[in-house]
């Protein structure tokens, strides 16, 4: 489907990432948002509070992040495309509800504009240290999709994509910005509505009946269609382990059937979900792996390296979870080493190392609060190639 023109601010703008993210959400059809302010994500809710009433939507600032993270789920079942946004401390408070969304297959987008932690940390300064939390922060087995934009333009484009994926897979999508991208202002081109492809919620084909089963998937699919509320389906939604009807069933078989499907619908979709960029990997001895803002920094490191005659390329996962596993394993077979640059003390590097299956994997860490010096990353590359 094409985007609803009401929400699309077509034109060329000079926007920061937070604002562009908001515009991406509106273009995607988000018409309901709940939030609670926190640096450096506040601009997203501020803009959405301002914009939604003018496009037929509704925003409420809730009493906290816990309320926001579940209010959006109520709204999602109420038929809306929804988003909430926060940063580290607030995202940590949302963890129970991210699990709820995964368990109940509630499409929703959680924007995390990452700042440096742990705890209150450096509220105004950049980090990328919530990547593992995005994947593992709630209890129990589940999978999410996590996306890392590296520019305001991508904050627009990929927020829209995030909504599309949330609807397609009925899953929470973690939109993992970072403070640098969120607070960076650049040109953002917003196309006309009819150029924007938007995924609408898949409704059940069948009419309401006693036979209706909320979580019954069509053959070959792992994602059930989602009924509208208030139209007679009379479905039941629970965070308990449930059967196809949505009814609680308290045993290991039900657990296996349900949770395995929930996990598999994301894990096995890795090939479709994979999105990455590559630069000069073809002849590379060392591939720099980086995402979000750091994927821009390593570009300079790569240039510095190439200037020194070192064969260095860049691999940038755009969708970080599920990790573009297939491609990384391929690369692992032909490169000498990976250098993973991230604004943390070692997160995504663990996944790279695991997938590298013996190919040397080295971390260029940075505790956050600023970006890497491109030279520092170069140094790690040089050491690796020594």
């Amino acid at each position: 489907m094409k985007a609803d023109p009401r929400g699309v601010l077509t034109g060329v703008h000079f926007l920061d990432g937070d604002h562009a993210c908001c515009e991406g959400a509106l273009a995607a059809g988000c018409r309901c948002a709940f939030g609670y302010p926190i640096t450096p994500s506040t601009e997203v809710v501020e803009r959405i509070a301002q914009r939604l009433p003018t496009v037929g939507g509704v925003f409420l600032q809730m009493e906290d992040e816990i309320a926001s993270s579940i209010a959006i789920q109520g709204a999602a079942w109420g038929g809306k495309k929804v988003l909430s946004v926060s940063s580290g401390p607030g995202i940590s408070l949302m963890m129970e509800h991210i699990g709820l969304a995964a368990m109940t297959e509630t499409p929703c987008v959680f924007v995390n504009v990452q700042r440096a932690g742990p705890s209150t940390g450096l509220p105004t300064l950049v980090a990328q240290a919530d990547m593992m939390q995005a994947r593992w922060g709630s209890h129990g087995d589940y999978e999410v999709i996590a996306i890392c934009p590296n520019s305001p333009q991508e904050c627009f484009d990929l927020t829209l994509h995030a909504f599309n994926l949330a609807e397609t897979y009925r899953t929470p999508v973690m939109f993992m910005m970072d403070e640098a991208v969120g607070h960076m202002t650049e040109r953002v081109v917003i196309p006309a509505a009819e150029q924007l492809e938007v995924v609408e919620r898949r409704r059940p084909r069948e009419k309401p009946s006693d036979q209706y089963a909320l979580y019954r998937c069509e053959p070959g699919s792992r994602v059930p269609p989602m009924p509208p509320v208030g139209e007679g389906y009379r479905f039941h939604v629970t965070g308990l382990t449930h059967d196809e009807r949505g009814y609680p069933v308290m045993n290991a078989e039900a657990q296996d059937k349900l949770v395995r499907r929930l996990v598999d619908k994301i894990r096995l979709a890795e090939p479709e979900l994979a999105r990455y960029e590559e630069f000069q990997v073809d002849d590379a001895d060392v591939v720099l792996v980086a995402y979000g803002i750091t994927s821009r920094v390593v570009q300079r490191s790569m240039r510095l390296a190439r200037e020194r005659g070192l064969k260095v390329g860049v691999f940038r996962p755009v969708v970080v979870w599920p990790f573009p596993e297939r491609r990384l394993r391929e690369l692992a077979r032909r490169v000498k080493a990976f250098v993973v640059a991230e604004l943390n003390l070692g997160q995504v590097v663990l996944e790279v190392e695991r997938l590298a299956g013996g190919t040397r994997t080295v971390l260029a860490s940075h505790a956050g609060g600023a970006l890497h010096e491109p030279e520092a990353i170069l140094k790690v590359v040089q050491e690796v190639l020594r």
Binding site: V12, H13, F14, D16, T39, P40, P123, T124, L125, E179, A180, H183, M184, T185, E186, R187, I293, R296, V297, Q299, R300, L371, P374
Partner: protein
């Protein structure tokens, strides 16, 4: 590819970010260049030194940080002191001359001062200090065209204040032009 790094510094509340925003927007939307604005945020922005950085380049600018400014615009002494160390040896330094004493400037730098606060106060609103500086910048730095800055300025200031801001801009511009004519 040509790349210019601009840093603007001052106290929080002096409109440092807005100045950066106008320069960036001018470059990105009206001069058809690539521009990246970054800034320092937070409680800091209320008291101490606060800054905006603009990278303007003719191609897609990947690396967003300002590491060694080509141009430094400063409106407070702490900002000057904090930032002057990092500038390029041949940088252009523009400063508010009643608030900043540009001591210890590297030899290769060109520097120009303007009593922008007084100009702004003369115009009736101290708040337009940043716009005076912007005009001054337009006069002395050619990275972004004056026309583009004027367009961006008009689009960036609150309705009803366009006149005042244009006056402030012109005041800074004229002062800068005069200096330049004198051989800046």
């Amino acid at each position: 590819m040509s790349r210019t790094e601009i840093k603007i510094g001052g106290f929080g509340g002096q409109g440092v970010i807005l100045a950066g925003m106008i320069i960036g927007r001018a470059a990105a939307l009206h001069d058809d260049k690539d521009a990246t604005l970054t800034q320092s945020f937070g409680p800091e922005a209320r008291g101490g030194a606060c800054s905006a950085q603009v990278v303007v380049s003719t191609e897609r600018n990947l690396y967003p940080c300002v590491t060694a400014p080509d141009v430094l615009v400063v409106m407070s002494q702490p900002a000057y002191e904090q930032y002057v160390g990092g500038i390029r040896p041949d940088a252009l330094v523009l400063y508010e001359s009643s608030l900043v004493e540009p001591n210890g400037l590297p030899a290769g730098c060109r520097s120009f001062g303007i009593p922008a606060t007084s100009f702004a106060e003369e115009l009736g609103r101290r708040m337009v200090l940043n716009i005076v500086m912007l005009g001054f910048f337009a006069a002395l730095c050619d990275v972004v065209s004056e026309g583009a800055i004027r367009q961006a300025l008009a689009a960036s200031v609150p309705k009803g204040t366009e006149r005042l801001n244009l006056d402030a801009f012109t005041r800074g511009l004229d002062y800068g032009r005069a200096l330049r004519a004198k051989g800046g």
